[in-house]
Subunit: 223 residues, 2 copies
DNA sequence: CGCAGCTTTGAGCGGAGTCAAGGCTCGTGG
DNA sequence: CCACGAGCCTTGACTCCGCTCAAAGCTGCG
């Protein structure tokens, strides 16, 4: 059962995918499990980084607290995503907070074990480098958007990205509070912009956090 | 002459520092040089990534163009820094722009060569991973600041970080235009905030882009 | 010396934050 | 099964930070 879960975890994660079966089996022996209920904290700023954390199931939000006490949502971890890597190579402490949004299962690999693994598998290091690149690009993108686009544009982008192809009926995966924090604004403003979009005939409100996107092209034009 | 420069470059760069003398010599054979005048473009979005680029001397700004055409300064490369994208395994085209701010010397290592190097030296891979971790943290930090702090706070932070210990007399390394782009605002606003700081007795203007910081503690309080 | 690009300053406006109050929703417990 | 309350969401009124536009000094380089 534990072993089965461990394997599932490893199968799930892109960074392990190009390893040989033997290597994967080896990794599997290093994995620990943990379950978190919705709302539970996985880690807190100031914690020592002792493990690489891989999300097997559920969703985790990573936030940072600014000097003025405001919470900023940095990104979400979905199944297959991992975290802690940034600090994993030096003794250091977490700079941010991880909170389970829904019931979540994670796999943990101890730092020393992971480092040994890395020393022996250059391919693994390359995979991580790739994952880094993606996250870097996404955070960079986010920064650019925040500093150059209006709230309206940012929200339009967010909607299109989040909805994907489910334009006919889709439910926001986050509360407005969290969307606001992600986009660098307030819940009130988000609420108002949604109303504006609806008034303009771009979206249709189905329920509180459920929408239909009527005019994706027009939304995209805001970009 | 070439060889001397190559060695200098390698000595300079943290990511190569923990390599053995033999390995360093090997790296040195792979290095090419290039010089850029101030204002010259090193690369442009859309270019193929053919080489890893290490700054030996000078300063390079990395920018991105937002959808609305506005330029956003992402970060600067100083001597010893290397450009991120090229270190990545998959990224094949540039996503952003590199421009020399002053006369700049760079060392280039062809992508394939560098990746072979990585395959063989886990230590090198770890070093890169580390450097990336830091950049990721710094970009993340920047995002948080941009979305949560006021322009005034951001500028205060920037000043303190940039001045370092030279509070008595220091010259801005960037034009106000670039500082504005970095902080996500306009040159006019930067100009006004500097005046406000001066009026409040926090700084003293010595010349156009030269200041004395009178009250670092008070500035830090804005944070 | 002259021009191009940077900087400074002013006036005016608008987007978005704050504060406050009322409506919804959903989970919990009586 | 319904009533209650906490936490969300929505809406309004008001304020203000920072952007835009415009014009006039600076500065440095050719």
């Amino acid at each position: 059962m534990m072993v089965h879960d461990a394997k599932a975890c490893i199968q799930l994660v892109p960074i392990f995918q190009s390893l040989s079966t033997k290597e994967k089996a080896e990794v599997a022996t290093l994995v620990r499990h943990h379950h978190f209920a919705a709302g539970e904290s996985l880690f807190t700023a100031g914690d020592a980084v002792t493990s690489l954390l891989i999300v097997a199931h559920g969703q985790v939000k990573i936030t940072q607290i600014a000097a003025n006490g405001k919470e900023q949502l940095l990104y979400l971890l979905n199944p297959g995503d991992f975290d802690g890597e940034a600090a994993l190579f030096k003794a250091s402490t977490r700079q941010n907070f991880g909170t389970a949004l829904s019931a979540t299962d994670v796999c943990l690999i101890r730092r020393e074990d992971f480092q040994k693994l890395l020393q022996r598998s250059p391919q693994l290091a390359l995979n991580i480098l790739n994952a880094f690149g993606q996250r870097l690009a996404s955070v960079t993108e986010q920064t650019t958007r925040t500093t150059t686009a209006s709230i309206e544009e940012r929200l339009a982008m967010y909607l299109l990205e989040t909805a994907g192809k489910n334009t006919a009926d889709f439910t926001l995966p986050l509360k407005k509070k969290d969307i606001a924090s992600y986009l660098g604004t307030t819940p009130e403003t988000i609420s108002r912009k949604f109303r504006d979009f609806a008034d303009a005939g771009l979206i249709k409100k189905l329920a509180v956090n459920r929408f239909q996107i009527l005019d994706p092209d027009q939304l995209a034009l805001m970009e």
